[in-house]
Point group: C2
Chain length 377, copies 2
């Protein structure tokens, strides 16, 4: 792109969309200019127009995408709409940045990914937690071999407390037809992304236990325990809930060279002086153990979060900077959440890559009997 400024349009002026508008309009993103906003709600459009009269405001997505007023679109609509809107935007020749999750079921997301590749345009996803220096450091330590071969992952992410009043705040919330899931689709996409992004591995099979409407009057899952096995023999756990207070956010990764725990905004790193495997081979003492060092890493700066993702996406368009969160990678975390649903519905193991048709068929059954009646894609 030869231009020096990327003109952005935002679809959806809800909580996330408004947040992104504020970020753009604060001038924090170099090389980015917000020029247009689209929302189906007349009230939302009026609200935007009143605050920022210079913005072009659209009712219909297609009108904005084909208006010529924008080079890139940021999609911040309900989950189900991300793939179809992204595909329309690619057809309009635009660069696309989508909010998480990539979509609701991976079959739909795979089509979006194909459209993205065919378009040749820049495609990103707002995985802002990939900007968090602690998760970046963990990923770097693993990529550089500092943890050795990964043996176990264990993420307890139960601090997503959501009272009934939250679920009652929108009839689409926590329904199969409105959101396509619960805590896995709405709250956990970041952790489901980081869980595989940090270690660079997807599981090969999974046995998950979702509980639906636990301590809450909702139809979707809000309490999940998932056990996974990886190709290299490692195992993993992912536990989440929206009904616990104060809850926990603790991510532990063990390799044959040590252990990292991220909890309470801290990364703790224990490193073995030699790999457990090497020690074990030479050791002759029944109660011997490899020498372990507690490592103090340099201090971490603050996380640039959303602004970091918006800047990186803009730089990718203007300068070809590599994306921190390519849109195509949204399918990985979604695969994990789809697999957790399917394993629970079948009460059995599921292998990965997932049987996408089976998952979609099972999901459609739940959508048909959902308490929230809408026409979805």
């Amino acid at each position: 792109m030869s231009a020096t400024v990327v003109r952005y349009g935002i679809i959806g002026a809800g909580n996330m969309g408004m947040g992104h508008m504020n970020t753009f309009l604060s001038g924090a993103i170099q090389g980015a200019e917000l020029t247009a906003v689209c929302d189906v709600s007349a009230q939302k459009r009026a609200e935007v127009k009143e605050k920022w009269s210079h913005l072009q405001v659209f009712e219909h997505v297609k009108d904005m995408l084909h208006s010529g007023a924008i080079d890139a679109v940021l999609i911040a609509t309900p989950h189900y709409m991300h793939p179809s809107e992204a595909m329309e935007a690619f057809r309009a020749g635009l660069h696309v940045l989508i909010e998480k999750p990539a979509g609701v079921y991976i079959k739909q997301v795979r089509e979006m990914n194909t459209a993205a590749q065919q378009s040749g345009n820049v495609f990103g996803i707002v995985y802002n937690q990939r900007m968090n220096p602690m998760y970046r450091k963990l990923r770097e330590l693993i990529q550089e071999g500092e943890l050795g071969t990964i043996r176990r992952t264990n993420w307890i992410i139960t601090n997503w407390y959501r009272p009934q009043a939250y679920y009652d705040s929108g009839s689409w919330r926590a329904t199969w037809s409105g959101e396509g899931g619960g805590v896995l689709i709405n709250q956990c996409p970041h952790q489901l992304d980081l869980w595989q992004w940090t270690i660079g591995m997807m599981p090969k099979r999974m046995r998950a236990f979702c509980q639906f409407g636990k301590h809450r009057d909702i139809e979707v899952e809000n309490d999940v325990t998932a056990y996974v096995e990886y190709e290299n023999g490692a195992t993993g756990l992912f536990v989440t809930s929206t009904a616990e207070a104060p809850g926990t956010n603790r991510y532990e990764v063990t390799g044959d060279r040590g252990k990292v725990v991220i909890e309470d905004g801290m990364l703790s790193f224990w490193r073995l002086r030699e790999s457990e495997q090497d020690f074990n081979q030479r050791n002759t003492q029944a109660f011997g153990a490899p020498e372990c060092w507690k490592i103090e890493l340099p201090a971490f700066g603050p996380s640039p979060e959303h602004a970091g993702i918006l800047q990186n996406f803009t730089d990718a368009i203007l300068k070809g900077t590599p994306l921190v969160a390519p849109g195509e990678e949204g399918i990985h975390g979604l695969t994990l959440s789809n697999a957790m649903h399917l394993s629970t519905w079948l009460d059995d193991w599921v292998d990965l890559p997932l049987d996408e048709d089976l998952h979609e068929a099972e999901l459609r059954k739940r959508i048909e009997s959902s308490r929230h009646k809408v026409t979805t894609t």
Copy 2:
């Protein structure tokens, strides 16, 4: 008992037996006197005789049990032998204290428990970690309702590092015929006891994933992930391994009144000002959450560990003091470990109470093809 001193005999002069001898002979246990020791090994007997010439030393268990030289016996032999030796001791009219685990399969342990009840004698088990003031405090907090209704348990106990040299130090080690299991039978009995003792609940069903001989040349399990569901709707996890360093020992319990975490020798306690349930019922804010207090508890003293159990057992005989660890309760932790094996072998859910015959039949298959050839009970 009208006597003022309990005369003890110990069966088994291995690591644990020698430890108990030292404790008794140091004079740390009020009202207890060690008078006799029994071991099949001539070398062990000579060793004991050389160190403490005043002790009576026996080769055959029955001879010591019926010698009239002892009032109580402490059984510190291989796991399989605990039930048969305990039953013989009850027949001899003795009080019995057994090392953990209670036995290897619950059918065998149930017979021992029946014999204990019929004898009317005092029956204890060396669950010395029940003396640890942190686990006692957790149990007390739960019993008194400070955590409310239990919603989740999560124990990561992966700091049982055992190198191959450990497994190679005895041909019976880590074999189905010699020990009847691996990390669950040998290393984890304390945690499997505390896991249900602290919360006062056994699961109603379980789905477990044992891995056998992981990173080690052994035939039994040394890597386990178990998921459980309790009658009241709570869920739980238990994760253990002998091949990880430095490993983790972290026990988290969540209730509708708060959360406790025991890790790194510290108990952390977060308490909700009102129960999550009560808050949720009255709350109208979509992102509201119950007020949470971080509680600082009074300092914990050191744990009396083994000496505490020996003193309590002696006091139970002499003064009728209630036992901290009644022998009959050894069956609970063993049930959990048996269920973890069975769920893995069947690759399916197992309900509790466990199908004892099915478990025993499956275990016997493994004993028959065990690499360690012995005649076991």
